[in-house]
Amino acid sequence: MSPSKTFATASRVLRQLSHDPRTVALLFVVPPVLLTIMKYVFEGEPQVFNGIAPMLLGIFPMVMMFLITSIVTLRERTTGTLDRLMTMPMTKLDFIFGYALAFSFLGLCQAFISGGVMLGLLNVTVLGGAIPTIIAVVFAAFLGTSLGLFLSAFATSEFQAIQFMPAFIFPQLLTCGLFIARDQMAKPLQWFADVMPLTYSVDAMKQVTLHASWTNELTRDLIIVASFGIAALVLGSVTIRRQEK
């Protein structure tokens, strides 16, 4: 693995997106708009919104990076670019970490914008403060990217890649504790939620919201999210083959 090739891959991916300003705009404008809508949906119950908004902030980057990454990497597989790269002196890790770096960076930008709107304009109180919030959001973006990279290997068309979102992300969304506290769900769903990464991403946001100091649970959540992310990247690199049989 070489840092210059990893960075070159990350900057190439970001450059591709920069030539598509509409996608970038959607990426940065949609989350704060949705948060704003939520605020007025819960107009009668501001304290409920205060609990939900930070969790959503952790969910947006995960979902969006998942979608974008899976489509972009699917394109690499189908347009011949990956084919060409795999005959060049670069490693699969340069490729994979380049992607992870690029989209985590986008997640960071998204976190600044949505986090700024949430804390500054929508008056959400997060006891843990802005910095832990942003850290947790970047971890969520990293997770979304890694899962997208890995799962894109199982899609043969963009239609399939898009369908992976309801198939893999929605069940996690329903059980992650956003709609109802996890201990009130049916037992099997609790077990399911216990082994799903989004649960920990959302839990991290809860920790940040409710505790003024950095908690052990927050550390644990972030370690679990990062481990899921790294595992997905490693599995993703296995799905890229130098030599096919």
Binding site: H19, R84, T87, P89, M90, D94, E244
Partner: protein, 241 residues
């Protein structure tokens, strides 16, 4: 005579039990342009993908520049232009070349390299255009320019002149011949028989088998025909597959 590619009893079975190549053997010398000619579906791309190391042989062996195909040491000595465009449509020509140059290990002088390869394919005036806004022939030339980065010893080009107008094709063949004088070996696949006349050596492929191997003039003499198209037809006995 040094050998660039040595293939011994190569068979490749693709998924779905399709026998794409059946017991092929050949020795291809350095510094020549060698055409893989045959109808589409004959096995040309499978052969090419095996040589660049993207496809594992089911049986037999391939040696490229003295190393087994797919060896890591070959990665900066050969270039592969796939049949798909294999460049990023949402990047400019220059951005594409810069990225691939770095991947080939050229971190310094990338600008000089970019300028050089763009000159070779006569695309310097389009350096800052997005690839998706270029015409088909221009895209093809950008893809070819990526294959020129770092002056590889072996260039493997899958249908490089498909869809190009005759003037452009002529200028690309001039480039190929120039590269040859520098000792570059070119493997070029094509389904067009008139393209075949320009190669030094031809490998005629049909249904996964080599049906003839020789220079265009040899093949024509051997079959007593005037064009490669006629020799091909005479070799297969005019029978459809």
């Amino acid at each position: 005579m040094t050998i660039a590619v040595k293939i011994k009893n190569l068979s490749v079975t693709l998924s779905g039990d399709v026998k794409a190549l059946k017991d092929i053997s050949m020795e291809l010398p350095v510094g020549r342009s060698i055409g893989f000619i045959g109808p589409s579906g004959a096995g040309k791309t499978t052969l090419i993908r095996s040589i660049v190391g993207r496809l594992k042989p089911t049986a037999g062996s391939i040696e490229v520049l003295g190393l087994p195909a797919g060896d890591a040491k070959l990665r900066d000595q050969l270039s592969y232009m796939t049949q798909e465009l294999s460049v990023y449509p949402d990047l400019t020509v220059k951005e594409n070349l810069r990225y691939f140059a770095i991947m080939m290990g050229h971190t310094k002088d990338t600008n000089t390299i970019i300028e050089e390869v763009l000159n070779e394919v006569d695309m310097i005036d389009k350096a800052d255009s997005l690839v998706k806004n270029l015409s088909g022939g221009q895209k093809q030339r950008v893809s070819l320019s990526v294959a020129l980065i770092g002056s590889p010893r072996l260039m493997v080009l899958d249908e490089p002149t498909i869809g190009l107008d005759p003037v452009l094709r002529e200028s690309l063949w001039k480039l190929f011949n120039k590269l040859k004088t520098r000792g570059t070996t070119l493997l070029i696949s094509s389904h067009s028989m008139d393209e075949a006349e320009r190669c030094d050596d031809l490998i005629l492929i049909r249904s996964g088998k080599v049906i003839a191997h020789g220079s265009p003039s040899e093949l024509k003499k051997q079959t007593g025909t005037k064009t490669i198209e006629e020799s091909f037809l005479s070799l297969v006995g005019g029978e459809p597959e």
